[in-house]
């Protein structure tokens, strides 16, 4: 046998175990490779999952808008005028409700005002979410839970609550059920920042900084109380008042009656004595012929132009004729009057002569300078354009000089008076807190400080000797002064002699003025047999009472010395 021959190649054969071992090694290598790939994939997925940023907002935009919070609104001293409260809102999941009738009956025991058929229709079906009642009280929520009906649940919403109730209603405005402002400063705030924040989803749950208003709630309350009283005392159809800080243009308080309850915004549409649309803000969105209070504006412009002097006299003996019409004085003196006497006796003829001596075009330009051609720049969205004629013939200028034939809002006139007593600086009014330093650059100079001193004297003279004496009696010691206006209202195209809009625009304390006020009383009647219906008897007295109560709170002390009044008299008249 030549199997093992010399020099032949060695044939090696692996044994059974070894060859199985080789195969196994190869298989092991394959398995390891596959496992490595699997683990690499798992690792990669872990890293990918680890780098994902989770979205922490609740599903959908709807929830964000529902629970959007609004910043608290505070008055200038930190008292709350509007706050957010968390209230439960009830919703149902009809697909989870087992017995619709039982659920309906049970819910109606807690909420009897709901309509039975409407509720039953809401609860039937397969939907996942229906509102039943929004903004309930926590007590009602606990009672619903106690019923033990499946498929009912609550979500916490923010509701706007106005602790001051009706007192600052026109200023605050209102919000709708989704906490979006629909009127007043709430709507203004929305137009500015809050809407942007809410749309970015940043307002939810965040502490928004509270908003400081310029309103002083104590003065607002005093004004509100006095106006409510005036509505019953004089049986007026409406009343309104506003007070402004003349150095900064901040509105200290603003009231307009009849008003509404901001906690119940639908009350704004309730009719008053059968008449609709009466609950508007008469200070900003009401335009009226303000009557004799306009004479201050005429005289201020005339004095400032230098064409009329304090020592001038004017012939008020006879009425003035313009074609068919004759303008005469109400209880006129019918003699030659000096300028202070024209103001004191509120002579229409005298005022027309002053305006004519000044020049009717100068008068029209002065009204433009005062901003009476357009709306006042103000935060409240409810404003109206004044109606001041652009065609300015003699008769229109003459009637405009004593406040008829042109309609402006009381806010226009209030800011004009504020400018007259603060040395001639016309400021835009504001509802936000604003310091004097911030207000100075916003000044528009309309009269000189010398004219301002003369106007202050005239206003004080009217309080001491003219139609403002009733106001001065109530506000004794606070050196208040102002001008009355008893304007006949236009009814069916003609002036009605029975219906008046009584206005009193004032400022105090006139030796160093700080605040200006305007009070309107619409269609007042006599308080008693001895009183009258002219503005001094109603708007004037209301002003006096408001000043008497509010002045100490505002830091104005009473001063009874005669030197104070003597110091207001300008040099040329001493």
């Amino acid at each position: 046998m030549a199997i093992l021959s010399v020099g032949a190649e060695t044939i090696s054969l692996d044994g059974g175990r070894k060859s199985r071992g080789n195969l196994t090694k190869a298989r092991i290598r394959w398995v390891i490779a596959i496992l490595a790939i699997v683990f690499a994939v798992v690792m990669g997925r872990l890293i990918q999952l680890g780098s994902v940023v989770t979205d922490s907002t609740i599903e959908g935009r709807e929830r964000d808008v529902i629970t959007a919070t609004r910043p608290a609104i505070l008055d200038r001293n930190g008292l709350e005028l509007a706050v957010d409260i968390r209230v439960p809102s009830m919703f149902a999941e009809p697909r989870r409700i087992i017995d619709v009738d039982e659920a309906t009956e049970a819910i109606l025991t807690v909420l009897p005002t709901l309509n039975r058929d409407w509720l039953r229709k809401r609860l039937t079906g397969e939907k996942g979410f229906v509102w039943i009642k929004r903004e309930m009280t926590p007590a009602q929520r606990d009672r619903i839970f106690a019923l033990g009906i499946p498929g009912l649940d609550f979500v916490t919403e923010s509701k706007r609550f106005y602790p001051s109730g009706k007192e600052a209603s026109h200023i605050m405005g209102a919000v709708n059920i989704d906490n979006q402002g629909i009127a007043g400063i709430e709507k203004h705030m929305d137009n500015e920042d809050v809407a942007l924040l809410q749309s970015l989803g940043l307002a939810r749950g965040n502490e928004l900084a509270p908003v400081d208003l310029s309103i002083d709630l104590r003065v607002q309350h005093i004004m509100y109380e006095q106006l409510l009283d005036s509505m019953t005392r004089y049986q007026a159809v409406a009343s309104a008042a506003a007070m402004v800080d003349i150095r900064t243009g901040e509105i200290i308080s603003m009231v307009s009656l009849p008003d509404f309850d901001p906690n119940n915004p639908s009350s704004a549409f309730e009719p008053v004595n059968g008449k609709k649309d009466q609950r508007f803000n008469r200070i900003t969105s009401g335009i009226f012929e303000l009557g004799s209070t306009f004479k201050t504006i005429t005289i201020a412009g005339a004095l400032d132009s230098g064409l009329v002097k304090m020592t001038d006299t004017f012939d008020a003996r006879f009425g003035i004729r313009f074609g068919r019409f004759t303008i005469d004085d109400f209880h006129g003196k019918h003699r030659v009057l000096s300028l202070p006497e024209v103001y004191k006796y509120s002579s229409n003829i005298g005022t027309i002569r002053i305006m004519q001596q000044w020049g009717k075009d100068n008068f029209r330009d002065f009204l433009t300078k005062l901003g009476m051609d357009k709306r006042m720049p103000f935060e409240l969205p409810e404003m109206r354009d004044p109606v001041v004629p652009t065609k300015w013939p003699e008769i229109v200028a003459a009637t405009a000089s004593f406040g008829h034939g042109l309609s402006v809002s009381p806010l226009h006139q209030l800011m004009a008076y504020a400018a007259f007593v603060n040395d001639g600086c016309l400021l835009p009014p504001t509802l936000y807190k604003r310091s004097e330093a911030q207000s100075k650059p916003l000044c528009t100079t309309i009269i000189s400080p010398k004219t301002s001193a003369q106007i202050r004297y005239l206003m004080r003279l009217n309080a001491l000797e003219g139609s403002g004496t009733r106001m001065n009696k109530a506000a004794a010691g606070y050196r208040a002064g102002g001008k009355t206006g008893t304007a006949e209202k236009v009814v069916n195209g003609a002036y009605s002699s029975g219906l008046n809009l009584n206005v009193f625009t004032s400022a105090f304390p006139l030796d160093n003025p700080r605040y200006a006020l305007i009070v309107l009383v619409d269609e007042p009647k006599r308080e008693n047999e001895q009183s009258g219906v002219t503005a001094g008897w109603n708007a004037g007295e209301v002003t006096g009472r408001i000043i008497a109560r509010a002045a100490p709170l505002l830091g104005v002390g009473p001063d009874f010395s005669e030197m104070v009044d003597a110091s207001i008299v300008p040099v040329e008249l001493r």
Binding site: R86, G477, A548, P552
Partner: protein, 124 residues
């Protein structure tokens, strides 16, 4: 040697397993605690907002005013009138104090019988 390695790796795996699952349950516990705390904070913030609103409502002048009016007899609170205010500069200065020593001397001398008018006449 390989056996030792195997045993060590096996024990490490066991330990890692226990550790990871323990960590996971720990984290879940903490997360649920956190959620419970957040919900508690939310609820208390909500209650706080209601209480704050109640407090500010009770402090409103429109709420306090009628209460004062109702209890007028007991409280006797009235609005301050202008005459009730005063200023510091309206207070008069303290009058000069009397010279008690001179007065005493004068009275003593009168008691002793000395006539001051006579003395004045003599001095002149």
């Amino acid at each position: 040697m390989i056996r030792m390695l195997n045993i060590i790796l096996f024990c490490t795996t066991l330990a890692a397993l226990v550790g990871v699952y323990g960590l996971k349950y720990d984290v879940e516990d903490i997360a649920s605690e956190k959620t419970a705390l957040e919900r508690k904070i939310d609820r208390q913030t909500g209650e706080l907002s209601l209480l704050k609103a109640d407090w500010s409502y009770l402090n409103q002048p429109a709420h306090v005013g009628p209460i004062v009016a109702r209890h007028q007899e007991a409280l006797a609170l009235l609005p301050t009138s202008q005459e009730q205010f005063g200023r510091m500069d309206n207070l008069p200065m303290r009058p000069a104090a009397p010279d008690t020593a001179a007065l005493d001397a004068l009275l003593n001398s009168l008691d002793a019988g000395i006539d001051p008018i006579e003395q004045l006449i003599e001095a002149n």
